[in-house]
């Protein structure tokens, strides 16, 4: 059991009146002087300031879930949404699975043809890993999208074939978007096919998206949960012990070259492709360094493989870490210490952190053995 969102879905499409007090068709001004509602220090800067401390055009994220029940409904709402954006001069981006792209863009003479320039990305490429997806979003936004105006994204994250852990982490991802891109001029609409996704996923969508939307308008999600609370909830499910088959090592200062040699050998034995071993070692080394330097000075590590993952858990029995979106938010250049755990998360598929005063800190790194997990942000 890996936690998740047990709260039942509030069936937003029917439970709430379709009051539409914020028409989405009118392009929001790019300079939004509205005070930021979120007082998290991590969140009030939006995209990292550029190299000279100037901020990109200020804005505010609007992050909505679009629940649809048929292809026609999806097509109608999506095209209207993109057409509104085109009319408003928004930067248009569609991140969709192939079947959805076909619905919108395949047929010649399609309604989508009149929309002008739309950047179309493949959802299975885009949603490679929760942190890498934020990294790509940040990078693309910073270098292209946000500089050109308001960004209007239509996306459909894939949920099929996700493991229970992945579902939790992708839900966490949806919640983190509200923090990471809070102050960006972004209208982000995430589509959910209610025929295909589970009730858990829909419940999660209601808790991670501040609003719902459909053809008629937008209304607040009643079960929207503050990202910090949602984050803490995701961390509440306990981490099981490493399996008996896991190999164990202790480490302390001066032993990291040996640790890397050991892990490199295990990565090879368990079939991690050669080009992904060094990123794995970099991630594990980074965590071990934090244990030695900031934590209790010595730690334990376990390494094992599952059917499709190489897993390395590093434990510091003596120290607790403050995990408030730790490593989830693109680091600011003037806060280099935030970069280490961000790098760890970018280098891995999923990183789980559990920390409390009683049993210390455990950080579990998951690296996929099969998929080409190119840990590269667009550069």
């Amino acid at each position: 059991m890996t936690g998740g969102a047990p709260t039942p879905a509030p069936s937003p499409r029917h439970g709430e009146p379709l009051t539409n007090d914020e028409p989405l068709t009118n392009g929001e001004p790019l300079t939004n002087d509205e005070p930021l509602t979120n007082d998290e220090p991590l969140t009030n800067d939006g995209p990292a300031d550029d190299d000279f401390g100037r901020r990109p055009s200020r804005g505010r994220l609007r992050h909505r879930a679009l629940l649809y029940a048929s292809d026609e409904e999806f097509r109608e709402i999506a095209l209207a949404y993109l057409a509104d954006g085109a009319a408003a001069g928004d930067v248009l981006v569609a991140i969709l699975p192939e079947a959805r792209r076909r619905l919108l863009f395949a047929a010649p003479g399609d309604a989508a043809e009149g929309l002008g320039e739309i950047e179309i990305l493949d959802a299975s490429d885009w949603y490679g890993g929760p942190t890498r997806t934020i990294a790509s979003f940040h990078e693309r936004g910073r270098t292209g999208w946000w500089g050109r105006g308001r960004l209007r994204v239509l996306t459909e994250p894939p949920w099929e074939g996700r493991s229970p852990l992945e579902i939790v982490e992708w839900q966490r991802h949806e919640s983190l978007l509200n923090v990471a891109f809070a102050a960006t001029p972004t209208l982000l609409t995430c589509a959910y096919d209610i025929r295909a996704v589970s009730g858990d996923v829909l419940a999660g969508a209601a808790r991670t998206h501040p609003a719902f939307t459909d053809a008629a308008g937008e209304w607040p999600s009643p079960s929207y949960t503050d990202p910090a609370a949602f984050y803490a909830e995701c961390n509440r499910s306990p981490l099981g012990p490493p399996p008996l088959a896991a190999e164990h090592r202790r480490f302390c200062t001066g032993q990291l070259p040996d640790v890397r040699r050991f892990l490199s050998g295990r990565a090879e034995r368990h079939g991690l492709p050669p080009d992904r071993r060094l990123p794995f070692l970099l991630a594990a080394n980074e965590v071990a360094t934090a244990v030695i330097r900031n934590g209790g000075g010595r730690g334990d590590l376990w390494v094992w493989a599952t059917a499709d993952e190489l897993v390395c858990e590093l434990a510091d029995p003596a120290a607790r870490v403050e995990d408030r979106f730790l490593g989830h938010i693109p680091p600011r250049l003037d806060r280099p210490t935030e970069a280490a755990m961000w790098a760890v998360r970018c280098l891995c598929h999923i990183v789980e952190i559990r920390s409390d005063a009683r049993s210390g800190t455990r950080i579990r790194l998951h690296v996929r053995l099969d998929a080409p997990d190119a840990p590269v942000t667009q550069g």
Binding site: L278, L281, E286, T289, A339, A343, L347, T377, G379
Partner: protein, 339 residues
């Protein structure tokens, strides 16, 4: 070794596989070093602090900073070991040479003093023209004999060894006999390597003065090249100063255990004004703290910002820089290694 040059001396074999003589085992790459390949050879050149009796090495430099970094360490080590040091100067007088040596980093916190050593004869700087051209004509055999006599005298005086270094630029002036300079170098090679030798030598070659082919032939008359001492080498991380461009070459791994050494070396390098080039081609591993330490040298020192050039950055480090966003810090120039 059957080919003879126009001066009747055997020509060095070209190519990396060529080895010459008995001294080749210790440093195989230099035996066939060409001027072009000299840069490669430097990777395996002997650190000045590792020199032993019998060594006859060439210091091929392109700037005085590099030159005196090596020579000052050579002189300092000699004084510490109670060696007699003979410095044959050409382009500057003895006094200027002493100033240069004393100002080099090797003497910054040393327990020996250049001026004191010169005053009591342990360090003898003298003009090469006096030593080698006394008869008005440069005579290779005579000069080798003269050096032999100097060495013997020093040993009789109780010195535990003799260190000789000489500038070679005088050989380019067309003085009588200097057309036989390569013959002289060749004979020195035999003389220093004699069994029981308690002497060593560094011949100084200014790359800017010698033609490539000429330099190649001359360097081949030596056991190899000498290079500056590493700033640090603990078996995990090696840090070596570089001079053109100024900076550091790192090889091995930077992690929590070697980070303090890196920080120290960077602090030393950052004392110098101007941009800093870090050659990372040999860096097999580096954590984010290590990268940060390198990039922080942009703003250290006396507040003047400098550019940090990361040269031959391995792919994994380029990835880390990109992930952290540090490749777009102002003042950072990332030059990826060719793959």
């Amino acid at each position: 070794m059957s080919t003879l040059g126009d001066d009747g001396l055997p020509l060095p074999a070209a190519g990396p596989d060529a080895v010459s003589g008995s001294g080749a085992m210790r440093r195989p790459a230099e035996a066939g070093a060409t001027a072009d390949a000299a840069a490669d050879a430097e990777a395996v050149a002997v650190a000045v602090g590792e020199m032993r009796f019998g060594d006859h090495l060439a210091l091929a430099f392109t700037g005085d900073e590099e030159r005196y970094a090596v020579l000052a360490a050579y002189v300092r080590d000699g004084l510490r070991r109670d060696h007699k040091i003979i410095y044959l100067a050409d382009q500057e007088d003895a006094d200027a040479v002493l100033d240069r040596l004393a100002a080099a980093p090797a003497f910054a916190e040393a327990d020996v003093d250049v001026r004191e050593a010169a005053a009591d004869g342990r360090l003898a700087p003298r003009p090469v023209i006096e030593a080698f051209m006394a008869s008005g004509r440069f005579d290779p055999d005579g000069t080798v004999e003269l050096l032999g006599a100097e060495i013997e005298l020093a040993l009789v005086q109780g010195y535990r060894g003799v260190r000789i270094t000489g500038e070679t630029s005088f050989s380019l002036r067309g003085w009588p006999g200097t057309e036989r300079f390569r013959e002289f170098e060749h004979k020195c090679q035999g003389a220093f390597r004699a069994p029981g030798s308690r002497a060593m030598a560094i011949c100084q070659y200014d790359r800017r003065w010698f033609g490539d082919e000429q330099l190649r032939l001359l360097l081949a008359c030596h056991d190899g090249l000498v290079r500056v001492d590493d700033l640090h080498d603990d078996g995990v991380l090696r840090i070596t100063p570089t001079f053109t461009p100024p900076g550091l070459a790192l090889s091995g791994a930077v992690d929590e255990s070697t980070l303090p050494a890196l920080r120290t070396a960077l602090a030393v390098a950052a004392r110098r004004d101007g941009h800093l080039c870090l050659d990372l081609s040999g860096l097999a591993f580096c954590d984010t703290e290590g990268l940060r330490a390198m990039l922080e040298t942009r703003t250290s020192g006396d507040g003047l910002d400098r550019q940090v050039v990361l040269r031959s950055v391995p792919g994994y480090l380029a990835l880390m820089l990109r992930i952290a966003g540090w490749d777009r810090l102002p003042g950072v120039f990332v030059e990826e290694a060719a793959t």
